[in-house]
């Protein structure tokens, strides 16, 4: 089932939580809402669920306008961060509850609960109460409850936040696998970009109630449309430097007081056409430690990440995060040369925060 959201707005008093949001989610698509706390992603999800009534805008499920429909009339399943399992019911009753409310016969309930439980691998836990289950098991029960009524739309509200790191990794794979198998249109709210990048077909990045971008994970990472996305997506985060761009004999060049680098990206002319200073972005992995380079700085901090060392380099007043080979054994206080990959630079208008290469 496709979901079409047009100009969706939600105000709480004078506070605008969601500001004219437009989204078009295809049938069977896995969409993640990504953004920092308080960006309006959960509010949007709750409006889709029918818990909140939108202040303005239209929501369509398929061809049906659902603005005025109650949650129970929308045929959706939802998994909460807190799982929201009913503590006074067994796992079985929890999963069967949506079916009971639909008035499905006991026999049919039993069959369907068993089927879902087998898919989730919790068949042996059905007579336990939520308090007797581990976090991961509770999560599976919650997922089973959301799936059992065969919903047209599956909503996830940061479902993995309360799990430990290892379990989170496992559940991530399982949810993605399940969603793909069942082909249920899904919306997944998270503030964890790794979750969004690894699971979603497309990611809606939100900031302060507004949609910043709605793109595939690759698109967001490779060609961030706004400064916010560039800074938010990717870990360690992208470096930003204010530079002037100009054309000299060797080609386009970006300079400021501390550094000077050539660049050879597509749509160079758009960048060069821009009047005034621009913000240049470069990801740490696109910086190479090269003692032959002109850009030299002092290492301020070294954080071993295992495969790489993350080094914090001061080039005059400019700070740069770069990844280096641990074999180089760079120490704080060392002077190193840095070379930027000229094809991987991003340029933004510091006034509008929009990308100059889009």
């Amino acid at each position: 089932m496709q979901v079409d959201i047009q100009n969706l707005t939600k105000k709480f008093g004078n506070v605008v939580a969601v500001d004219s949001l437009n989204l078009d989610i295809k049938s069977g698509e896995f969409v993640a809402f990504l953004g920092p706390s308080g960006c309006g992603k959960t509010t949007t999800l709750l409006m889709v669920a029918g818990i909140y009534k939108p202040t303005d805008g239209i929501m369509r499920f398929g061809d049906v306008v659902v603005n005025q429909l109650q949650p129970r009339e929308r045929n959706i399943g939802m998994v909460f961060q807190s799982y929201a399992l009913y503590p006074h019911m067994t796992a079985y009753s929890n999963i069967a509850y949506p079916l009971k409310l639909k008035g499905i016969s006991k026999n049919e309930q039993n069959i369907r609960v068993q089927r879902v439980a087998d898919v989730m691998g919790i068949g042996h836990l059905l007579d336990r109460r939520p308090s007797q289950l581990s976090g991961g098991q509770q999560q599976r029960v919650a997922l089973g409850r959301a799936l059992v009524k065969e919903p047209d739309l599956l909503l996830f509200d940061e479902p993995l936040s309360n799990l430990d790191a290892r379990l989170r990794l496992t559940m991530r794979g399982e949810i993605k696998h399940l969603q793909r198998d069942l082909g249920i249109t899904s919306i997944y709210v998270t503030h964890d970009q790794i979750e969004a990048l690894t699971m979603a077909d497309r990611i809606a990045v939100m900031n302060q109630g507004k949609l910043e971008a709605f793109d595939t994970p690759e698109g967001l990472y490779e060609r961030p449309k706004t400064l916010f996305i560039a800074g938010f997506v990717g870990n360690p985060p992208m470096n930003f430097v204010d530079v002037e761009v100009s054309q000299n004999g060797a080609g386009p060049v970006a300079t400021n007081n501390d550094l000077k680098t050539h660049f050879t990206i597509d749509q160079v002319e758009k960048v060069l056409a821009h009047k005034g200073p621009v913000t240049m972005g470069i990801r740490p992995e696109d910086i190479v430690v090269d003692d032959g380079s002109d850009i030299r700085g002092e290492v301020y901090l070294v954080e071993p990440l295992g495969r790489d060392d993350l080094i914090d380099v001061r080039i005059g007043d400019t700070r740069m995060l770069a990844l280096s080979d641990p074999k180089l054994k760079i120490q704080p206080g060392d002077t190193v040369g840095l070379r930027f990959n000229p094809e991987r630079l991003q340029f933004y208008d510091p006034q509008t925060n929009q990308s100059l290469v889009w």
Partner: protein
């Protein structure tokens, strides 16, 4: 590697044992401090505060009681503190600990006895006597020796006389001794005695002599040594329980008396006694009110009274639970104009004492009484009216309590239920209410007890010839028009307690059970 001291390696480091001198010095310091403190408090209460409050002119004033208690408990406190402190200060020097404690017990009692001897108080006080010694014989009390020049000799009593009675009251040795001790100096006791098989009556003038009550001195030593041994022997972990039990003892004894009294004709302390004062006298007479007989004179509809009590309690519980849970839910979950005002108003209402509202409530009930049909159920002088008032008094607390419980349930729970397909009502009844079951039970029990035990409202608004409920009945039993049969009052009180006890026996598991949540983060 050298072998390290095991105490340095394993476990948390303990403080090194104190040097013997330091330990003894601290012990001495603590004992002296305690003694000075208790004597000081006693002195302050007796000398200063007693004078300050003397205007009140109470014979056994509060202040003297405290002062006396301090003096009485001082030896015991000293012995206990010595035992406990030396155990913690001297650690493993067991012989020394026992020695010091016993020494202190001995010293304290000796000092106390010496002080009594000097001031001629306590065991050394004067007592009334007729100056002879006796023993119990078959026919009566046999006089075995007579003090030369004493009261008995002056009265003409001879060795070998057998005392049978004082005036017409037959006595044994114990009763005789008591009678002598309780007489005033100079009082005349008329002994009826047998001399050579002949009955005679001889008046004896009781005189006051200064005597030593050796028994009480020995008992003092024994009590202190027993205390010392107990204080030396109990594990430190038990001390809180020992304290708890000693503080709760009056309560336990009170309930013990209540139960014993209901089955006895009279009680002497906790012992059931019959009308002549001998052990025994167990009876079910006090419970005769269950058959509708109140004493010899009054008829009583006990079941009607009980039913009234039960009806007030049940009606109140049901209505309070229903209204408070719904109102609490609305206040916790919904936003509507006047919500804050409503909340603060209920809080203010809760703090109104019922007494201040008696007259306005009377007017309200009177007016309700004028409404046809409803007036017969909820007007003045009806059970319904009383229940209505009680509900009104209980609701503010109930609403706040319920709101608190609802606040503790996460919004996600409701959202989840509504997405699962439940209506708001179904969510409330099937998902939310079951989760606050402990709260409902607590409020239900509060309400039930409140309704069951209520006195003021039924006593005020159910008047005339109709008896209202059990508390009012108990009040009627202690009225001024007739001698009060306290054992019967106790029986009715115990009868009133039965449902409460049952309630607690069966519900305490629910009350103590902290409901384990299925929500992550709630425990």
């Amino acid at each position: 590697m050298t072998v390290t001291d095991p105490t340095m390696v394993a476990g948390p480091r303990k403080a090194p044992p104190l040097a013997l001198g330091t330990a003894l010095w601290r012990l001495l310091r603590d004992i002296v401090l305690l003694a000075v403190a208790m004597l000081g408090v006693s002195w302050v209460f007796r000398e200063i505060l007693a004078n300050a409050t003397s205007a009140v002119n109470v014979e056994e004033s509060f202040t003297t009681v405290i002062a006396d208690t301090m003096i009485f408990t001082l030896p015991f406190a000293l012995v206990i503190v010595t035992a406990l402190r030396s155990r913690s200060l001297l650690k493993n020097r067991r012989g020394l600990i026992i020695g010091i404690t016993m020494l202190v017990a001995l010293a304290v009692q000796t000092i106390s006895v010496g002080q009594q001897a000097l001031t001629q108080t306590g065991a050394y006080g004067t007592q009334t006597s007729v100056q002879f010694t006796t023993e119990q014989a078959d026919e009566g009390v046999l006089v075995t020796a007579i003090e030369a020049g004493g009261a008995a000799e002056q009265a003409g009593i001879l060795v070998g006389d057998v005392i049978t009675a004082i005036r017409r009251d037959v006595v044994d040795k114990a009763a005789l001794d008591t009678a002598i001790l309780q007489s005033d100096d100079g009082a005349v006791l008329r002994f009826r005695l047998l001399r050579d098989g002949e009955e005679q009556q001889i008046p004896v003038t009781v005189t006051s002599i200064s005597g030593v009550n050796t028994t009480s001195i020995y008992m003092g030593y024994v009590a202190l040594f027993v205390t010392a041994i107990l204080a030396l022997a109990i594990p430190f972990g038990w001390i809180p329980y020992v304290l708890l039990i000693s503080f709760l003892m009056p309560l336990f004894l009170g309930y013990a008396w209540l139960i014993i009294a209901t089955f006895s004709q009279r009680t002497e302390g906790l012992l059931p006694v019959d009308t002549t004062g001998n052990f025994g006298g167990l009876t079910l007479d006090n419970w005769s009110f269950l058959s509708g007989q109140m004493g010899a004179r009054n008829q009583l509809d006990i079941w009607g009274v009980t039913l009234n009590s039960a009806m007030i309690a049940v009606v109140m519980t049901v209505i309070v639970l229903l209204v408070a849970s719904m109102a609490g839910y609305a206040l916790s979950r919904m936003n509507f104009p006047g919500r804050r005002g409503f909340l603060s108003m209920t809080l203010i209402l809760h703090s109104f004492p019922a007494v201040t509202l008696l007259i306005p409530i009377f007017i309200v009930l009177q007016n309700i009484g004028h409404i046809p049909l409803i007036g017969d159920l909820f007007g003045f002088n009806t059970i319904g009216g009383v229940a209505l008032i009680m509900v009104a008094f209980e609701l503010p607390l109930g609403i706040w309590l319920m709101k608190g419980f609802f606040d503790g349930i996460s919004w996600d729970m409701e959202r989840s239920a509504m997405i699962d397909g439940a209506t708001r009502w179904r969510t409330f009844f099937e998902i939310i209410l079951p989760q606050i079951r402990p709260g409902l039970l607590a409020l239900g029990i509060f309400s039930f007890l409140g309704g069951w035990n209520t006195y003021l409202i039924p006593a005020t608004f159910m008047v005339g010839t109709r008896t209202s409920n059990l508390p009012v009945l108990i009040r009627d039993l202690t009225g001024e028009m007739q001698p009060v049969n306290w054992n019967q009052v106790a029986a009715v009180g115990l009868y009133q307690l039965i449902p409460i006890l049952l309630l607690f026996v069966f519900a305490q598991e629910y009350l103590l059970n902290i409901y384990a949540g299925g929500t992550k983060g709630s425990s």
